[in-house]
């Protein structure tokens, strides 16, 4: 995607939100970008990595988000503009450093882009990163469309340098993963004072202790620096009062003022069109959402008595506006607020034009123009009765299906009610029936092994169930390593199973420290998981999960050992990896003469239980059948069939 850098100034491109963000950083002369993969943020680093050589920038996939932020901070300290990217959960991981960084301040512009996922479209939570701006007291910007995604990121670097502190630009799934038209700015003429004047990075550190630009970069003396930080925020507010990212559209004296931000401004706009209510409702779209500019907000609050605040998940904007309204009370009078606190807007899940239109129609007393009721009813009926739900499942050829098959079987055979503590990755799907409902705890990155480490110490209180944790190879480096070390050191009884599929599968196969390739696809020294585990002092076994029998026996054996930590590495490359994708190792077929279908005591084990999408049930012939379009040719199902009716033939 070289157009990210080659698209000419003034040209109009169809860009994904994440591409727009990346372009904005390039236009700002950003030199260092670091992040950890996480939907919906991953394409920002991916796109930057692709153009890194041409753009003369450094890009890395860091081991985790905290390290990513530290790497980016170093660039800022050395006078280079830097960008740090992560999904919302990543901000939690990075938050300890984030607090201290906000306290010490930055030098060259540094921007943090967290991508939130309202509605948890591809997350296991709908956590919020906006909190963190208020929590650590740094400015927060929220782009409302694709053009703003680019422009705001670019401006955020300027703001960061104006106040010498980190600036957060928060995106959401419906912006990051949506696309729209963006007019390009100039990359070559962008201003980056530090980099241009010095033309090289240098870390000044021997200046006066209180000199943020030349002394040591630390957050002490704390109250002095904290006070400085507040001055910086005041300065940010001044910029915000006149920022072009805050816009008002609508009549001078609207019946209702809607205050919104982010992609919700597009939804609200659409809703107002649907209701034909643009002449009745004012729309204050805020791009600078923390700290709020009080004069600007006061000016608009004065326009009317009824205010609706539209935002996703927590009432963050709502609370900020209400705080200001309370302070401005004598000046603006008493207002009626609609929002999340009075349930006008739902507090969970993502919003859309319909939800907002329905909220508006309630307040304004407008009937919504519906689709003919008979149509809705008929379509609903037909879909409800006839469109079978599409549950998520492991891909055809996915090593995880095979791994969980064997682990689950071993735990069941072992018969002591052993369980698996899950972790974050594609293998989180093992909490669903298509992963044999194998996971019994599932929290944050790396926490499977941490929780297991705790379970493994409960023997003295009578817990004698076998404890297993799973984690992916990328997750291992991200945050499971400390948990492993903890478990080994405390002789916790557990079996840690590392599902090593050679990449960060869930987010699109980004490299991690265990691979001999970096974000740019260049050669990099691989950190050997096996050696790390061994050095930590745990026993380690390596097995191919496609060998079901051996894997099961190995797990059974490890479950027997109640003397500390055993690690099993189940190594098999992801079916979607560039090495494997589209290439079948085996041509699979079902011998209809051997498969006895419904008459078999196996009760359709292959399709009913193993349930790989590549192996379907032929309802007419009543036997199983390979769907050659979907089958990935991994060959595993051949060892599921008790009658050996599934054949595999090596593809030449």
């Amino acid at each position: 995607m070289t157009r990210l850098i080659e698209a000419e100034e003034g040209s109009r491109q169809l860009f994904m939100g994440n591409e727009a963000i990346a372009r904005g950083a390039l236009e700002a002369g950003m030199k260092v970008a670091a992040g950890y993969p996480g939907t919906p943020s991953s394409e920002i680093i991916e796109n930057l990595a692709e153009v890194s050589e041409k753009a003369g920038i450094y890009v890395e996939w860091s081991a985790n988000e905290k390290v990513a932020m530290e790497v980016a901070a170093a660039a800022s300290f050395a006078g280079l503009r830097s960008l740090c990217v992560m999904k919302q959960n990543g901000v939690n991981v990075a938050s300890d450093f984030l607090l201290h960084l906000a306290g010490s301040g930055t030098r060259a512009g540094m921007v943090l882009v967290p991508c939130d996922d309202p509605g948890a479209l591809s997350s296991v939570n709908e956590g919020e990163s906006r909190h963190f701006a208020r929590l650590v007291e740094v400015p927060l910007l929220e782009p409302g469309d694709f053009q703003e995604a680019k422009d705001m990121v670019k401006w955020a670097f300027t703001l960061s340098e104006e106040i010498r502190n980190l600036v957060m630009v928060r995106s959401v799934t419906r912006l990051s993963h949506a696309s729209g038209n963006v007019i390009m700015g100039n990359i070559a003429e962008s201003k980056n004072l530090e980099a241009e004047t010095k033309n090289s990075a240098f870390f000044k550190h021997d200046g006066f202790i209180l000199d943020q630009m030349e002394g040591a970069v630390i957050s002490a003396p704390v109250t002095y620096k904290h006070g400085q930080q507040h001055e910086k925020l005041k300065k940010a507010i001044e910029f915000f009062e006149t920022s072009p990212f805050n816009t008002y559209t609508g009549p001078e004296n609207p019946e209702l003022l809607v205050i919104t931000s982010s992609v919700c401004s597009l939804y609200t706009n659409e809703a107002l069109q649907m209701l034909n209510a643009k002449d009745r409702v004012g729309l204050l779209k805020l791009g600078t959402t923390w700290p709020l500019p009080p004069k600007l907000v006061a000016k608009h609050l004065k326009m009317t008595d009824k205010i609706l605040i539209v935002e996703e998940v927590i009432p963050f904007l709502e609370e900020s506006v209400k705080t200001l309204a309370a302070e401005l009370g004598p000046e603006i009078g008493v207002k009626t607020f609609f929002g999340k606190r009075d349930n006008t807007i739902p507090s969970t899940g993502e919003l859309n034009p319909d939800i907002i239109a329905s909220a508006l129609s309630g307040i304004l007393g407008i009937d919504m123009e519906p689709v003919p009721e008979a149509y809705t009813k008929r379509a609903g009926e037909l879909a409800f009765l006839n469109a079978p739900v599409r549950d998520l499942t492991f891909c055809p050829g996915c090593p995880h299906r095979a791994s969980f098959w064997s682990i689950k079987n071993a735990l069941t055979m072992d018969n002591r009610e052993g369980f698996i503590c899950g972790d974050i990755g594609c293998y989180s799907l093992a909490m669903l029936p298509s992963g044999f409902s194998a996971l019994k705890t599932l929290h944050s990155m790396g926490s499977g092994t941490g929780v297991a480490s705790g379970f493994g110490k409960l023997g003295q209180f009578g817990l004698n169930q076998p404890v297993v944790s799973v984690c992916g190879d990328s997750t291992f480096f991200h945050s499971a390593m400390p948990a492993l070390v903890n478990a080994v050191h405390h002789r916790s009884n557990l079996t840690m199973i590392i599902l090593d599929n050679s990449g960060t599968g869930m987010t699109g196969f980004q490299p991690h420290p265990g691979l001999n390739e970096d974000a740019l696809g260049k050669d990099a020294p691989a950190v050997d998981i096996e050696a790390v585990v061994r050095a930590a002092g745990a026993n380690v076994t390596v097995c191919d999960p496609f060998d079901l029998a051996e894997t099961r026996e190995t797990v059974l054996k490890l479950l027997e050992d109640n003397n500390g930590v055993n690690v099993l590495i189940l190594r098999q490359i992801c079916a979607l990896s560039p090495e494997k994708k589209g290439k079948k190792q085996f041509e699979m077929s079902v011998d209809e003469n051997i498969c006895v279908g419904e008459n078999c005591g196996c009760n359709r084990l292959c399709t009913r239980i193993f349930s790989c999408p590549g192996l379907t049930w032929d309802r007419e012939k009543k036997v199983s059948r390979i769907d050659e379009v979907i089958c990935a040719g991994c060959g595993v199902c051949a060892s599921i069939c008790p009658l050996q009716a599934i054949n595999k033939k090596e593809v030449a």
Binding site: K408, N409, T412, M413, D414, N415, R416, F436, L556, G601, C602, N603, L605, I609, I640, P642
Partner: protein, 383 residues
Amino acid sequence: MQVFGSKELLEDVINRDLCIGCGACVGRCPYFKSYKGKTAMLFECDLSEGRCFAHCPKVEVDLDSLSTTFFQKAYDGNPLGSYMEILGAKAGDKIAKAEFQNGGSVSALIALALETGLIDAAVLTDREGIIPTPRLVTNAQEVFECASSKYMAAPTLSALNNGIEQGFERMGVVATPCQATAVAKIRTNPVKRANFIDPVNLVIGLFCTWALDTRQMLSFLSDQPDMADDIRSADIRSMDIPPPPEEVMVIETGTKKTKIPLKEIRPMICESCQFCPDMTAEWSDISVGAFEGKPGWNTLVIRTKKGKNLVEEAVEKGYLQVEKIPEESIKHLAGAALNKKRNSFIKNVEKGLVNTGEKEGRSAIRLSDDVLKKITAQKENAV
């Protein structure tokens, strides 16, 4: 009997901890597996009828129906079951001295049956380390490798299922009472398969008062400081409970003999054994056990014509020597068997597992109410 599926088996047997892990359900389908004495159901199976349920010795055992099939009469509750003759026996001169529990009669009879072609394979219980494992054998040498008692619940019948898959049609089975019950059920073709062939031609039952939980026993022995090494290296030679009054189990490993008081062993008895009414493996051709008061000898309960013929041939060919057994010993044996029967039926009734009507659901055991009353009304015998 009415046949149900694995869901009901799970409810009635596995979830109630009545499963003794005999292996009858293992190896006929991919769902049941044995591991360390326990049977596990790997995944849910929604077939409404299955051999897993039909063959299980812990659910819907109709004693009248079995008795009618195998002994041509209604079940009468005799403590020792139906039999023709009781003898003392030990392996004869033709049999090389092996590690026998008592008299070596079982090995001798099975070896002979294999040699004469009475059976085409034998279903036995071998041992891997301390863990009993099923074994399907076809020659005498292998029979002797499996000699000696295991004292632990074993999935022996998975070897029978394995033998059926392999096409053996006249197998001999050496079975504990629960296993012999399962074999009897298997032989009645409860799922009414067309082309059914009785895969068994000889059942030699083993006396049994209880079996130990394999995993508990394993962890108990591993915790014994002086045994842990031998357990880890799986170097177990034999296990024996010498006759009273010693009250110990003797475990012989490669390095030593260790005596463990029975009072430490008893807590590891499988829950299921308390519900078992059968001490002498009544559903067999010949049942074999210790000859109390005569070390090195066995008691033989000969139940069928086939069993009697085999014993006679064994004596004739020097595989076995027999002698009369004192009436007092038989009385003593019957007393012990009655105690087990009586106590277990009382427990079964308490738990609502006997002769339940349609409303209450499935039974573990069915027999006539009169016989049930007769058994439970008897006084406990001083043994």
